[in-house]
């Protein structure tokens, strides 16, 4: 399994532990990553607030590089997934937009064939659809029995469903649960696992943003989760790095919910060294997780 790899800005910035765990876990799963070192930010749904066409062209630039490599594109960020899927959808439906976008790429010698399209998949989807849950299960060397794990998806990998291919793959909104169970963990479900972490408004309305994070973390802790796992580094930033500040809006005392990136949880089940997976590189200590392994 070979993919053009778009790691996203955050895994190269404030969440380096995500990038480092992904590049170590992928080869163990037989996933070959050809990183798009010259790829650019997807816009995270923010650049499109300024100019939708510019945001679509930035995404088309990444897509064109992957098409030239004749590889499907893999990302490790729910936000990138949502933005990429929406951009693809717009360019497929509006050939005049695709033509304009390609005009902006022409000087670099790039061309995105919007009609042909490109398979763009989050690591979570790759695990279930390309690798397969049975194969994943067979690779588990250290079943995480006894570890109680709750899923946290991130909005952009769940909604809008029709843009995210859920007409064809209608269980994509359950994949995290499937993966958690495949690794031998005890699945914890809780109110808020499908909702917004609050990150997009952190610098705009901090109280609302932290209250959102606090509500979900409180309900996960009440349901007995040892940790949460997320395919989205932006959710990780709000749920982990902001958790000490969110605690004052929490409905439980002593809020402490470690948040793992998806490749970290996979790596632990593959028997990899937690240090190598950078499990110690979180704001909320992961001691609780490691003690349960």
């Amino acid at each position: 399994m070979r993919y053009a790899f778009w790691p996203g800005c955050v895994s190269k910035g404030a969440a380096p532990e995500l990038y480092q765990s992904m590049v170590r876990v992928a080869p163990e799963l037989g996933i070959e990553l050809e990183e798009l070192y010259d790829g650019n930010c997807t816009g995270a749904g923010v650049i499109s607030e300024h100019s939708m066409e510019t945001a679509d062209a930035l995404n088309a630039r990444n897509f064109a590089m992957a098409q030239r490599m004749e590889l499907p594109l893999i990302n490790i960020c729910s936000t990138c997934q949502g933005v990429q899927s929406l951009a693809q959808d717009r360019m497929r439906k509006r050939p005049e937009l695709a033509a304009q976008v390609n005009a902006s790429l022409a000087d670099e010698g790039l061309f995105y064939d919007a009609e042909k399209g490109l398979e763009v998949k989050n690591f979570l989807w790759v695990l279930v659809e390309d690798l397969g849950l049975d194969k994943l299960k067979s690779m588990v060397k250290k079943p995480l029995t006894g570890l109680k794990v709750g899923p946290f998806y991130g909005c952009y990998i769940l909604r809008p469903e029709n843009i995210l291919g859920m007409d064809e793959h209608n269980e994509r909104d359950h994949y995290l649960e499937y993966v958690i169970e495949a690794l031998g963990c005890t699945l914890i479900t809780y109110e808020g696992q499908d909702k917004c972490c609050g990150f997009p408004i952190l610098t705009i309305n901090k109280k609302n943003s932290l209250t959102m994070a606090a509500n979900h973390l409180s309900s996960a802790q009440e349901e007995g989760a040892d940790c949460l796992v997320t395919p989205c580094p932006l959710c990780h930033l709000n749920l982990d790095a902001q958790q000490p500040d969110a605690a004052k809006y929490a409905s439980v005392n002593g809020l402490e919910v470690p948040i793992l990136h998806l490749p970290q949880l996979i790596g632990l089940a593959l028997g990899m060294d937690p240090k190598e997976l950078r499990v110690d590189r979180h704001v909320v200590s992961t001691r609780k997780v490691l003690a349960n392994l």
Partner: protein, 326 residues
């Protein structure tokens, strides 16, 4: 087919006012709607059940409620389509609005927010002798938002309203765009300034719930994004939301990728030391965990190509008046 309903009941007139669930099992044809089923229950099984409905054909917007955890019109949802969700159909009142009784919610907060955006045309000068004439294409951007039937499904499932009832919300803000985007309206700038206030357009967290649940494909969140775009291009920059968007654009233009070190600083305003200092407490813990974004961001090799893309669309915007609705 046998339909098993689990309905959330609440009666303010009984001493025991805690909401509770009651189960009903009724025989219905497969193409029956949830509304047909609720009416069947009310007429033949339990006359105390209260619900609000009128047209039964997804036009009046009266019967929005939560069905299996998601806001939908009861009259547009067939029971047969819900079988895959499991045997039981859970019916609850719409969220984020006070419950009057059972499935009937108080729409007063909904309407007061719609009224707060001044949902009428504001024109300068005397009206034309006959009707206002506008070219078809200038109304095209409003096609989605004009489909709104004011049912409140988006408000029910809005994740911001869940934590802050002061937020104007998806329905009112979509309505706001309906007038900002109308070529006959002359109050765009004043509107955009008003909607840029706290609890307005910048408080939306872009969770896409409203887009997902809207029964009329209004895409309220996308209308809010259009409001933001109009506000930014109208030069309304004295708020964190607008500065966040503009700084994000600048930083990606400069580096080809995001600079997380500067983004929050610029969002607070380059000279707003007090705002910037509010980020200080989180710096040591980020640093300790090895998560501090680099002070000197890495530029991608092809940053000049990214710059050219920004420039290309900026120039085309000026030439073709793109993004400008008028």
């Amino acid at each position: 087919m046998q339909v098993n309903l689990k309905v959330r009941r609440y009666d303010p007139e009984t001493p025991e006012t805690e909401p509770s669930y009651r189960n009903y099992s009724v025989e219905m044809p497969e193409n029956a709607t949830v509304l047909d089923t609720l009416i069947e229950v009310r007429e033949y099984h339990d006359g105390t059940l209260s619900l609000r409905c009128s047209c039964r054909s997804a036009i009046c917007g009266s019967c929005a409620m939560r069905i299996n955890g998601k806001a939908r019109l009861a009259c547009k949802t067939q029971v047969g389509s819900l079988v895959k969700d499991g045997g039981e159909i859970v019916v609850e009142p719409a969220g984020n609005l006070p419950v009057i009784k059972d499935l009937v919610v108080d729409m007063a907060p909904f309407w007061s927010k719609v009224r707060a955006v001044d949902p009428w045309l504001k024109t300068d000068g005397p009206p034309p002798e006959r009707e206002y004439v506008v070219p078809n294409e200038s109304m095209a951007a409003l096609g989605e938002v004009m489909n709104c039937i004011m049912c409140g499904a988006c408000v029910s499932d809005c994740t911001v309203l869940e934590v802050d009832q002061s937020f104007l919300g998806p329905a009112a803000l979509a309505k706001a765009f309906r007038f900002v985007g109308d070529p006959r309206d002359d109050a765009q700038n004043g509107r955009l300034r008003a909607y840029s206030q706290p609890s307005g357009m910048w408080d939306c967290t872009r969770c896409n719930y409203c887009v997902e649940v809207c029964p009329k494909d209004v895409k309220p969140m996308e209308q809010i994004m259009k409001l933001r775009s109009e506000a930014v291009h109208a030069g309304i920059k004295n708020n964190n939301g607008s500065r966040h968007t503009l700084s994000f654009v600048d930083l990606v233009d400069t580096n080809g990728r995001l600079d997380e070190f500067r983004l929050p600083v610029f969002t607070e305003g380059k000279f707003n030391l007090i705002g910037q200092l509010s980020y200080l407490p989180s710096a040591p813990r980020m640093l300790r965990a090895g998560k501090m974004p680099p002070i000197f961001p890495h530029k991608i090799p092809g940053v000049k190509h990214v710059k050219r893309i920004f420039k290309y669309f900026e120039q085309n915007r000026t030439k073709a008046g793109e993004g400008s609705l008028h």
